[in-house]
Homo-oligomer: 321 residues x 2
């Protein structure tokens, strides 16, 4: 973890807040890089995501939740590949006057999730920025050779399945902004704290023909699976699982196109549905069949209960909207 | 490479500019993560650095040079560990109105350096930001087991050696801002385009007892080696190699404490000096002995030619200064 440009007291801050998070390969964060022997007989899985204050989280969101969301959005990518968390690197760019308490809270959030998801900090960088807090995290995971679940691989006739509930993230953003009612803060909590479906993801090898996590919006992300496989998809709107809190708002289109779900969407051949349901039962993560892949130009359409196609605007959820 | 929050036309942009940079494990940047088998019998070396416009580079710096600096500062960390480049992940946060030509230039710079340093893009993320361009890069490299050069490991009596010349980066920033003369643009070029000393770094196993790259300023960084080894260091100011362009400015203190050198500083036992000089000759990278580690409280002092200690302000170069 290198000191950065012009953050006063940076070395002491790294030692105080980040060194306790460092894993075996991190060399105490005092070196130029981390060094580790990859777990024997595994493939490595790597992904990176950035988050910017005012875009991906609210500037006054508690720093522990910001840290956990950053880690969890990346963990969700590992879940979608069926991978096991190994470690992560972090870059943190913050205004110069960022208080010590912000760092303490940020590190506490990471510590909490490191324990829950069993991974550790490998390295990173802290720098000053004249702009909003800008974060980036690279996650490393492992998977048995050939066992990674890809986005390609769906076949016509495969069922489209999702984990958990859809739309809480998008509604949660509105709730966090105080724009909609949110008794108990259930929706805002789902926006601020994704639940990466790692336990389910690890069970998908041999079950899901394709998978990804839902981050840009369900319809858009199923569109990605369509393009990756050269297939069309029919989504039955009424089959999409909504939480009681989301159902109460009745904003189905927002739920279907909103982002920040961090659920898994999977292509599952009919012969493997029983295995999927067993995996869901074992891991305590609900799954629901919401549609079918079929031959046709790559496009995901949403069908109302009467079979007519619902109008969906192009593109996914924009965090700027 | 996932699309990001609210960058219009982002999928097309990733396909156009970043997909051509993707390596074998990157899965065409269409998946949630990259998957690769680590090279057999190697340890992995990983590091991450962030760069922010107006802090680490000038907002109007050409985008190809910004990209290459980002990649090269990370490659410099690999060089300091004696590692071989393998691949990298990238997050790019840019204002929404960033023109297509900026991305084209940025990707062209990456392509050029990928070819020179033999590595490829594994994944990443692009997002919008209401602030300045914020970049983060995680680099992955490989090293033979146990061969990584650490910051710890110097012994009293070891010589302090540096590669190349010191101070061009700090002077180059002033030159790039038009604040000092820079005939031929030599100094500004050194600021904008670091030369990661990978070829020398790979030769250091069995030669250097400790090494790091000089990024925060020579005196500060030697201080890091002191603290890592529990030793003091005497730096002979007159022995520090300066380029002709730097020498012409006569700002020795700035050269010694300025940042952005991206040279290697090494602790080398006397018995291995011949081997170091041979490695320098073979790789065409000059090295110079600039001082000695000795027993004493961890502190790097700079000695003038008359043996008196020169006054050096605490801390390294601040990019904000």
């Amino acid at each position: 973890m290198s000191e950065a440009a012009g953050l006063p007291g940076e070395f002491a801050r790294i030692a105080r807040h980040f060194r306790p998070l460092a894993g075996p390969g991190a060399l105490g964060l005092i070196d130029d890089a981390a060094v580790f022997a990859p777990p024997a007989g595994c493939e490595m899985v790597v992904a990176a995501d950035a988050m910017v204050a005012g875009v991906h989280f609210l500037p006054d969101d508690p720093p522990d939740l910001v840290a956990r969301k950053l880690l969890r959005t990346n963990l969700s990518d590992l879940a979608a590949m069926g991978a096991q968390p190994f470690g992560y690197l972090l870059t943190v760019s913050v205004p110069r006057d960022t208080p010590e308490t912000w760092f303490a809270g940020f590190a506490a959030g990471l510590a909490q999730d490191q324990a829950e998801f069993r991974l550790s900090l490998l390295g990173g960088d802290t720098t000053a920025t004249p702009g909003p807090v800008s974060l980036s995290l690279t996650i490393l995971g492992t998977v048995a050779p050939g066992a990674a679940i890809r986005r390609t691989g769906a076949s016509a006739g495969d069922g489209i399945w999702v984990s958990g509930t859809i739309g809480d993230g998008a509604l949660g953003l509105l709730a966090a902004r105080g724009e909609i009612a949110d008794p108990g803060g259930v929706l805002a909590d789902r926006y601020r704290l994704p639940r990466p479906r790692l336990a389910l993801g690890r069970r998908l090898h041999g079950i899901a023909a394709a998978a990804m996590d839902v981050s840009d919006g369900l319809v858009q992300d199923i569109g990605h699976l369509c393009r990756a496989a050269g297939l069309a998809a029919d989504i039955e709107a009424a089959a999409v699982p909504l939480s009681p809190a989301a159902r109460a708002h009745g904003r189905l289109l927002l739920c279907l196109t909103g982002g920040d779900d961090y659920e898994l969407v999977m292509a599952v051949p009919q012969a493997r549905e029983a295995a999927l349901l067993a995996a869901a039962r074992d891991t305590g993560i609900a799954v629901a069949r919401i549609g079918t892949f079929r031959h046709g130009p790559p496009h995901a359409r949403v069908l109302a209960e009467d079979g007519t196609e619902m109008p969906i605007r192009a593109g996914g959820w924009s965090h700027f909207a």
